[in-house]
Every structure is written in C-alpha cells, then in structure tokens.
Symmetry: C2
Subunit: 181 residues, 2 copies
C-alpha cells in the first residue's frame, strides 16, 4: 500500500493549519494528483474522508473509477446524511465507491458530553478509521495466504532480521513500492 | 495543544519514506527544534515514540526538562525493555518523563499470527496511542471544567455555529495557538 500524497492536505505539519481544509474544496486538485501518479487500472484506491462532502474526495473517487481503479471509501454515512455536499454534483464520497467502509461517526465527531462543558467533545474518528484500516490489511493478508500467496508485509526494524526481511520485500515488489518519490 | 514539528519526521508524506527513521537518530536535531520553538517554562510537551530508543525523543525530553517544561512520554515500556538505546546516554524516553503513558505495545508492533503467514502482523500502536491521547484531552477538559475554567476546545466546522465558536477560541487564545507558523 502506497500513500497518494496531495500536497498541503495529507501532512499533519501543514501551515497554516487551515490550509488543508481549504484545499479540500478546490476543483481539479484530485485530477491533477491522479494525472501525475503511478496509479493504474486494476489498482485499488482507498479514500478517507469523514463526511465525504468536499470536492477533493468526490472528484478523486469519480476520476479514479473512470480509469479502471477500484475505490474503497472510508467515510461516515451518518455524517454525510447530516451535511450538504460541497461538490458541484451534490454528491458525497459514499456515492462513488465500489466498497464503503462506514465508520458510523456522528456529525461533529464528538463522542462525550458533560454538564460543565458547553459543547460535545472527544473525537473518535482517528481511532475508528485506523482500526478499520488495520483490520482490512490483516484480513487481506489472511485472504492472500489462503490462496497460497505470501503477503508482502513489512516488519519492524527493531526485531531480529527485520531489516533483511524488509529488504527482500522491497526488492521483490520494488516496482510497486513508491517510497522514494 | 500545538504541534511541535520536526521537519522530515512528523509528516506522513516525507520522501523517501525512510528519511524519518534516519533523522530520529541525529544528535542535535531536538535541541535545534526546541531552540526555535515558542515552547516556554511551565508548558507541557507530549513526546510520542513507541520504543523511545532513538536520539530524537531522548534528547527532546532531556532538553525540554532543563528548560522547565513538563514532559509526558507516550511510549511502550515493554518495547524499550526488548531493545537497546541508540542515544549515547544509553537511556530511553521513558527515563526522562514527568509522566509516562504506557501503551504496552509488544516489541515488533504486530498483534496477530497465522499459521500460513511467516511473521507476526497487524500493528496496534496507532490505535492505542491515539486513544490514549484523546482520553488525556477529554479528562483534561473535565478537570478544567471542575475548576470553573471553560476548556478551549475547537469544534467541527460542520456543525451549526462551529466556525463562530472556533473564531472566539482563536481570538481568546490567539497568543498560544500557533497554527499560522
């Protein structure tokens, strides 16, 4: 699995912090990133967006599918239902996926309330989304193994033989692991 | 809570992907970042490192404490016990904290095994670390409210009045929120 980086959107250290949200509303950004990516027909693209309401995830999903790419959306159907689309089609990420993994996070992403605090707080979306993604990778590994294919998993560099293990995977799958560029 | 960014280390989109791990072993990097940060005595610094074995988290914790900063380390004591330190002091992040939040992740960060897959797989550290951090923030908000202080929490921009709410927090705490630089 490779990261398809959208500059200014995927980094946690982007400044100003509000730039990422602003870029999510820019039409054409998704297509520019796809045009210059190594993604090809037959690949699977995982798109993560809590509401899926913005131009970036909607355009990314629609454009990728026209190129023969399978789209998995990790998004909240309930969240989308409580907001309006910001894409000119009026649709959400959930509407353009081969598979939707529904995080079921409620609008506002705030799980707790307390009498002494004037608004709900405590977001859960990162924990739930990460758990979903790890579950997908683990079950995919098991499914490949069932078919007699050794899943190309990387190991921690802190365990004995970890670096040698990873070097073998990097060599064998080097043409599909884009960690240098 | 602000991000103290270490260039090349905190971003998920750093290339090559191996650069982050290499930078964690560079002596002097932590001090250079602290020297140029707005961190001051009385602040709390949260340092996240699974093993805490590398120069960056160890030096960051030690240097911050000499400046009167409280250090919270989110790390695995069990992981540290199974590795050797890469810092010239021979110590780990856990040895230089005012509070250790122990993620208890086992060495290798791989929770599952399967007869048909030749190595353990399925890391849990991101889920556990994120849940710990959200629990800290939620309990801190409640503790502040108990003292009669309204916790300066931001809200989702997708809920009614969210933007106005956030503008008020940004104005009131503007001198301690570093989201532009």
């Amino acid at each position: 699995m490779n990261l398809l980086a959208v500059p200014g959107v995927v980094g946690v250290d982007v400044t100003p912090a509000t730039l990422g949200s602003a870029l999510e509303r820019v039409d054409g950004l998704a297509s520019a990133v796809l045009d210059t990516s190594p993604l090809r027909a037959g690949d699977t693209l995982v798109i993560i967006s809590l509401s899926g309401r913005n131009a970036l995830p909607v355009e990314m999903a629609r454009t990728a599918r026209t190129r023969g790419v399978k789209v998995v959306g990790v998004t909240s159907v309930a969240y989308a239902a409580q907001t309006t689309s910001r894409h000119n089609s009026g649709t959400f990420l959930k509407d353009h996926c081969d598979i939707v993994l529904d995080s079921k996070i409620a609008v506002g992403d705030a799980e707790l309330t307390l009498d002494t605090i004037p608004a709900p707080f405590a977001p859960a979306s990162t924990v739930v989304t990460t758990a979903l993604m790890q579950a997908v990778l683990a079950t995919t590994a098991a499914a490949l193994a069932d078919r007699g294919i050794e899943p190309p998993l990387l190991r921690s560099g802190n365990v004995d033989g970890g670096h040698e293990w990873n070097s073998r995977v990097m060599t064998e799958y080097g043409d599909r692991i884009f960690y240098r560029h």
